[in-house]
């Protein structure tokens, strides 16, 4: 089931069209990455998804219900951590979380329990009595994350949750987000591609307000595969010329890894799947096939390819 369905949303600021017919969906229980260069429209999309902004056209459905038509009901299912931390710097951590929980309709009798659970999950128990403005950047980020989840929404929208943090805090926040996966559907934007590839099941790439690609990482790889390169390791390269002369081989690079191990990087001049043919040819020529892989673009290269 889809937790979020975004259907042809558009949004302009003055004459500047920031989002143009954006459509994608987020599966329930997944961590969905949202990538795009600066000014691509990521933050605007996230604000629209959480009801902070209204789209000028199109519709957002959360668990099948329209965000515009059932705003009050639907908003209770969404927690957002925007790119700029939404904090009351003069408030005490636990008071702030009480306020947010109450604001989002948590029953008075349950608030204490919700706040305690949230403080525990986010590692803020020891700081519950401190004024938010006096906390370090990492802990402020945790409080901002805590306010997004204190009322137990089904969907968490996290806009660059690790930006500006030291490496240790980045690691902790990532682990925290991964631990939230079992209870929430997470929609996460980040500039750090390695972070997205580590954490996300699905991906949407956006550029200049338009969807460039959406789906699983594997699907996007397939969609944007411009080169078909097969990498294999063999025992011997005695009949290398026979491989080189195959009609579907464009280019062949060899690298010796050890005395009896070589890596062959075969550039296929067709977008068809030639793995069966090539592996058969290697075996037939008694080159001693050890491993056989399809070279994939890493996320950074894929991202650059997609937004090109």
């Amino acid at each position: 089931m889809h937790a979020v369905v975004v259907d042809k949303i558009s949004r302009s600021f003055g004459v500047n069209k920031v989002l143009d017919n954006l459509s994608f969906s987020i599966k329930e229980g997944s961590i969905h990455g949202f990538l795009g260069p600066n000014g691509a429209g990521k933050s605007t999309t996230m604000k629209i998804l959480s009801g902070l902004l209204a789209p000028h056209s199109g519709e957002v459905k959360i668990f099948g219900e329209s965000l515009t038509e059932h705003q009050k009901k639907v908003k209770k299912q969404i927690g957002i951590l925007p790119d700029e931390l939404p904090l009351y710097y003069d408030m005490v951590v636990s008071d702030f979380l009480h306020f947010v929980a109450r604001l989002n309709g948590v029953d008075l009798l349950l608030i204490e329990q919700y706040v305690d659970e949230c403080l525990k999950k986010t590692g803020l128990e020891e700081n519950r009595g401190r004024i938010i403005g006096n906390l370090s950047r990492g802990y402020k980020q945790r409080v901002a994350l805590a306010q997004a989840m204190v009322f137990k929404p089904k969907i968490l929208i996290l806009d660059e949750p690790t930006v500006g943090l030291d490496p240790n805090s980045v690691k902790e926040i990532r682990e925290l987000i991964l631990s939230l996966k079992k209870d929430h559907t997470i929609f996460l934007s980040s500039h750090i591609l390695s972070e997205v590839s580590l954490m996300c099941n699905d991906l949407t790439i956006i550029n200049r307000g338009k969807i460039m690609a959406t789906g699983t990482v594997e699907e996007i790889h397939q969609q944007f595969k411009t080169k078909n390169i097969l990498v294999c390791r063999v025992h011997s390269i005695s009949h290398l010329e026979k491989i080189q002369n195959l009609e579907y081989v464009n280019k062949l690079e060899t690298k010796q890894l050890s005395e009896h191990e070589y890596e062959l990087r075969v550039d296929i001049n067709s977008t068809n799947d030639m793995r069966a043919e090539l592996s058969e040819a290697i075996i037939k020529n008694k080159m001693g096939l050890l491993t056989f892989n399809e070279e994939k673009l890493d996320l950074e290269k894929l991202f650059l390819e997609v937004i090109k």
């Binding site: 009801g51 902070l52 309709g105």
Partner: protein
């Protein structure tokens, strides 16, 4: 959720030094003004000689006291309200409110009533003056009732203009100045009547200016046009504030 926002704002007012500092400055200034009125009253009686108490009305002291408090509100209300929305916008904490399942009205009203409460709290600090005058032998206290009622209506109107000013800028100093200018304008509109002889203009500015209504209520003459003036002005300012918050969706 208006109550949740109301109590949260109150907590923030009273957890920070803002409410205490403003209250202290207000109390000291009003106290000093009251003291001066009494001194002037005594001086006038002494100038007339024995039996002067009966010739100079005590009401003048009371009217001047409420006039002075009203004058101070011109500065106090912008100070109280300037950060209500502007700092939320500046520090992005407004997203907490925007993303919650609440209407923009609830945000505006919660903050508005909190500021009204703090302003009324300050007014309560002046209750010591009627008590002093009671012990000094003042028997007719109806002036106090009407005077405080006039201040109450003024606070409702001024605070709504303060909330509106706070919605207009992310900079709280700018918001404060806008609020000050709008509250000042409610006074100055009455002055326009002195520079024109046109009957319709005079009537119009008399009505939309605050002085006529304040004096009327403070003297105990409360009529429907005064109530309509205060409530429609307050409602209009809050409605525009709400529209400004909602402008994010335009």
């Amino acid at each position: 959720m208006t109550l949740t926002i109301f109590f949260n704002e109150l907590k923030r007012y009273f957890y920070s030094p803002v409410a205490y500092v403003i209250s202290a400055v207000f109390s000291i200034t009003v106290g000093w003004m009251f003291f001066n009125s009494i001194i002037q009253y005594i001086a006038q009686i002494q100038a007339i000689g024995p039996g002067g108490e009966g010739q100079i009305s005590f009401d003048n002291i009371i009217f001047s006291l409420f006039g002075n408090v009203n004058f101070l509100l011109l500065f106090i209300i912008p100070l109280l309200t300037m950060g209500l929305i502007s700092t939320e916008k500046k520090y992005k904490s407004i997203f907490v409110l925007y993303s919650a399942p609440i209407d923009d009205w609830e945000i505006i009203l919660g903050k508005y009533f909190a500021a009204v409460f703090v302003a009324l709290f300050m007014i309560c600090l002046t209750f010591i003056f009627p008590v002093i005058l009671h012990f000094a032998g003042l028997s007719d206290k109806s002036f106090f009732f009407s005077g405080y009622l006039a201040l109450f209506f003024n606070i409702l109107l001024y605070t709504s203009l303060g909330v509106l000013g706070s919605c207009l800028s992310e900079n709280q100093m700018v918001s404060g100045l806008i609020s000050f200018a709008m509250i000042m304008a409610t006074w100055m509109l009455s002055w326009v009547t002195q520079i024109t002889a046109n009957y319709y203009f005079v009537e119009l500015f008399h009505y939309i200016g605050l002085s006529l209504h304040f004096e009327s209520v403070a003297k105990g003459i409360l009529n429907y046009s005064d109530l309509a003036y205060y409530f429609s002005g307050t409602f209009f300012a809050l409605l525009v504030s709400r529209k400004i918050l909602n402008a994010r969706n335009w």
